[in-house]
Amino acid sequence: MKKTGAQILCESLIKEGAEVIFGILGGAILPVYDTFPQYPQLRHILVRHEQGAAFAADGYARATDKVGVCMATSGPGATNLVTGIANAYMDSVPIIAITGQVARHFIGKDAFQETDITGITLPITKYNYLVTDARELARIVKEAFYIAQTGRPGPVHIDIPRDVQMEEVEFVYPDKVNLPGYKFVSRVHPAQIKKAAALINSAERPLIIGGRGIIISQAYDELKELAEKAQIPVVTTLLGISSFPENHILSLGMLGMHGMAYANMAVQNADLIIAIGMRFDDRATGDTRTFAPHARIIHIDIDPAEIGKNVPVDVPIVGDVRSVLRVMNKEIDRRDHLDWLSQLEQWRQEHPSLEIREDDKVLPQYIIRQIYEATQGDAIIVTGVGQNQMWSAQHFIYTKPNSLLSAGGLGPMGYELPGAMGAKVACPGELVWSIAGDGGFQMTMQELATIAQENIAVKIAIINNGYLGMVRQWQELFYEHRYVATQLQNPDFVKIAEAYDIPGVRVKRKEEIIPAIYKAIDYPGPFLIDFFVEPEENVYPMVPGGGTLSQMLELPKPEMVSH
């Protein structure tokens, strides 16, 4: 039966299991939108800026094991998606970005709202397509979903000229993909696993560094088995948070620039690092020349190009984390590593990185801890970027798998609200908190309109210090207190929320914190809390940029401590 390109797109999306599309329409995608009423199975959520569509699709995908879909028109619609696509690429999030394009005969003519968007997204997508024939559309959609979800996940972009959307052709949905150049390792290499197991079995001070790969492959049980069986402590990267329960005796929390002091000390003193589904980002490693100086390194990752990219490794294992760990766990001996664990415990006592000082002021760390206390960890935390992100990573205790969604690689401020929106749409039964800074909030706060229109019940906490806080912290510490362009004169965020018909409260005193959090939780819809926090509070511990993990600025001893 003949169908239009637009119908073929919708039917293909449905066949691939898509349920929600975040987007904004415009001339070049109008034929697709015009067919939406024929497909009530597809829920379209009209956002207020295309960046919000891409972030929401990203949050939707991170919170589930589904692919997120976002849609925009040609030209500015498409270019507005770019930040969100780049973000998904950096953090390996499976999203499909669909854009309208000017009609084929206009391409290359600098037509109205024409942009070479596939040229722009080429280096920030796992793959992209310009559809030049409606007969190829079904195959392309099938391939796009396959590529986005398999191997190392990532965004795929499909650009569809307007006349292709209207072209009527026979619709045949392919049952297989044929991509001879697309390869990912699905088989586990037993010899490498044996080598790794031998190193693990003979290590005295082993340490696991867990990354987002564990969450992507849902290897929570396998990681726990490895850690417990051989009594190996676990640190995580920012994106690896919630891959291992942080209330577990073997958990040392996050490593890196704002990691726990004892986590970084563990890295610097370990004799074996088992790096699982992580990519040795500079925010995690500090100066790679001084990273883990005593350790041999086992690196397990599904992407062969990550092996040896930033840090030389002794035993590379390319493969899906879960499959690798399942085989490897059988080769691992039971150990206790009592000396190593008691040494770490001593460091943990001596360097209590999570201790929040007694203070009558409104401390951001205390707010995050109270959100944890009120939820007991049963929530999805979606952060912005900067201080709010680091405090959220540090002071919430993540015990539930995949309960932190944070844009780590690209670091785009403003992720928190649309990201939380996507997560809440994907998981309506979950309590979703959007933790924002006052700077980042203003980058995507127009999505309050989307949240109100669709009644998406996210809880919004603004950590309002009147600064672009993390940059201010750098200016304080490394630019002799010269606060250039970091001070913010903010609007009244509670009034802004009210203008969108979203209730909110402002918190200026410590005793108001807990009641406000409960009020937000108990309210049946979206709710905003504007926390007026201590303006010049810093995130500690801190490894200065490019520095070594052995040298941290710590609180409450703000002098440089060397180990």
Binding site: T118, G119, Y127, I147, G181, Y182, G308
Partner: protein
Amino acid sequence: MSTTKHTLVALVEDKPGVLNRVASLFRRRGFNIESITVGHTEQPGLSRMTIVVSGDSAEVEQVRKQLDKAIPVIRVTDITEQDIVARELSLIKVKATSSTRSEIMQIVDIFRANIVDVAPNSLTVEVTGDEDKVGSLFELLRRFGIKEMVRTGRIALTRGSMT
């Protein structure tokens, strides 16, 4: 680690945009291409790229892996250490007068190159060989005055049977 020239051979899908994809990858990862040649192969729908890059082994291995990850790239091999036949083609337009013409032709003969165009003031020489041979001929012809020259960059095959 020492920087050496590596020859990578990539079998890629013969589709629009593939060269752009490969070139973009080199640019983004900060690798310099010394030469790149692209052409059809014995298999319909597939092109073969021969890419010469400089770098230490770890850098080049990283290039190879990144290339291999690109979806239209079927296979990439670093054939530097293998027994290969490598050639490039160059056309050199050299100034020639009645007094220098015969000397140029002698040099061309020694290199088993060909004269492919004769004009009143110039000769165009076609030479095929490895980079050293092409480079040496160029150096010898330089004193006569080079008007224009073009090199294809290296193409290469491994010796013996291809399975």
